[in-house]
Point group: D2
Amino acid sequence: MMTQVIVLNGGSSSGKSGIVRCLQAVLPDPWLAFGVDTLVDAMPASLRASDAGIEFEPDGEVSVGPEFRTLEAAWIEGIAAMARAGARIVVDEVFLGGANSQERWLRALGELRVLWVGVRCDAAVAAGREIARGDRTSGMAVSQADAVHRGVVYDLEVDTSRAESMECARTIAAHVK
Amino acid sequence: MMTQVIVLNGGSSSGKSGIVRCLQAVLPDPWLAFGVDTLVDAMPASLRASDAGIEFEPDGEVSVGPEFRTLEAAWIEGIAAMARAGARIVVDEVFLGGANSQERWLRALGELRVLWVGVRCDAAVAAGREIARGDRTSGMAVSQADAVHRGVVYDLEVDTSRAESMECARTIAAHVK
Amino acid sequence: MMTQVIVLNGGSSSGKSGIVRCLQAVLPDPWLAFGVDTLVDAMPASLRASDAGIEFEPDGEVSVGPEFRTLEAAWIEGIAAMARAGARIVVDEVFLGGANSQERWLRALGELRVLWVGVRCDAAVAAGREIARGDRTSGMAVSQADAVHRGVVYDLEVDTSRAESMECARTIAAHVK
Amino acid sequence: MMTQVIVLNGGSSSGKSGIVRCLQAVLPDPWLAFGVDTLVDAMPASLRASDAGIEFEPDGEVSVGPEFRTLEAAWIEGIAAMARAGARIVVDEVFLGGANSQERWLRALGELRVLWVGVRCDAAVAAGREIARGDRTSGMAVSQADAVHRGVVYDLEVDTSRAESMECARTIAAHVK
């Protein structure tokens, strides 16, 4: 029973992208990697800063509007279709809505075999890394650190405040069938 | 009969991405934009420089291997599924195989209403823009300028050596239903 | 009498960076390229969005504060010192203060042999290119198109709404001694 | 006796840039940050892949040629001049030549008050982070991890395999006068 999709969920600056690149390096098959950033980059500039789209508040809060949700639903269907067509896929997500966000993916992924991974990182550590990266709105790391995990159910969890990206990737890879 | 997918095909440095961003700005509905770059970025680093994946030769030739083709097929299915799920999508493509590449998209897009757009640019102009951009392997623009259009059938063509991106986008938008 | 510094001045999205890369490609000697973007990237994040630093207004207006001016003065001295130490340098600038901005450079460059180049672009064309680039605050192109040239004296001017970057670069290169 | 320049030296993927951004955030005055990447970005594309310029070997070895050295010498003079003109500056360096590289900076910085900081990172950890970043030639981290520190004399050293960027930055900031 081959794993078809790996979904990583964690807050901003929790280190998901680094884990994804390490996973792609250590998994023997080629896996495609997509994330919420892929979707946001695909949106019109106007939707990235409007009530209908996505908003990055000065304090790091992120909210998304109805047009974002509509496009996101189609995006999730598309990812599921890619997996059904034979591509193995790692998804790098930020479940702003916690359990509700996971529910959206669960419905679309249906019968596909999914490995759900929680990527934890102490809020204070993530806040420091947000400054070190220098390319994110300050405050996102702290405001998302716990909220994105609320009610979400995982097959395994890793913690980047306690392990390097590569180590987390090896732990996850050991659960991939 | 609403247009569901716009496929832009043109060589490297022909100005497709600029047209796509202008299209997203002038079309009244929100359209998602994806391209072959989205797919390449999603691949493992190892596939980006191997016989099984994609190769950028020093002279600008690009060739893709069997594993690239397999993942690309699933990717195309996924894009089609997103369109069927209701997202309007602009695809920014480089048909390295000319008519054969179009055929792959045609099969996957099936009954979807597609607007096929050729993006032309004089080879010499594209070569100059490749140097001006500074982030592409030198030679790609020239080697792809004509080859990618071989045998491809379009609903309309634009030429970025004769018109600005915004002007091309307005021409295309006028054909979108 | 060898040219030691080339200063290009033009508004946002007028095409200066593309000309600079083409210049580096066509000039026989290696030239270093720096610009106001190099300076802004070197500043602390806090100065990039504060009254003391630089501000990008929603309408595209850019204003700089006293701490920005202090660091900029030292930056200009440093560029002049690099040229005196033997590096040939292209500077890519946006003279928000018109003639006053040029005066600051004139004083620091002193006895160095400088080629002053104005990079023009029709405001409407630059506005379209700003949308095509997708990475600039909307409105900067229009608000700067004419203002940055006010009172500035040039050795030659090029116009990117009428010529490709490479063609402009060749025109400039022909004036380099 | 105010510190005028902070020089951080460490191998590729040792975490210098992250420390620099944290330093800029925690130091009360505004500091400009430059690095060898600023210089490489300023060079013509041709020098970035030639015997006269800089070469990134497939195994991660980096070598620089005579034209690179000439431009680098002028660059270092320029940085020193900026500091003399009153800007406080953090330099992010990779001393490929160990003690010889430091000697070049020592000569140019002359009487300026400099804080020399060694940024250490276990080679195995840096190699993992190189994969996690995904934008560096594989092998650079390992080949540089120890070599860049050979014979170099520091005021203090930090180790990013044992402390977060922000923690390292606070340690360094405590030594800034």
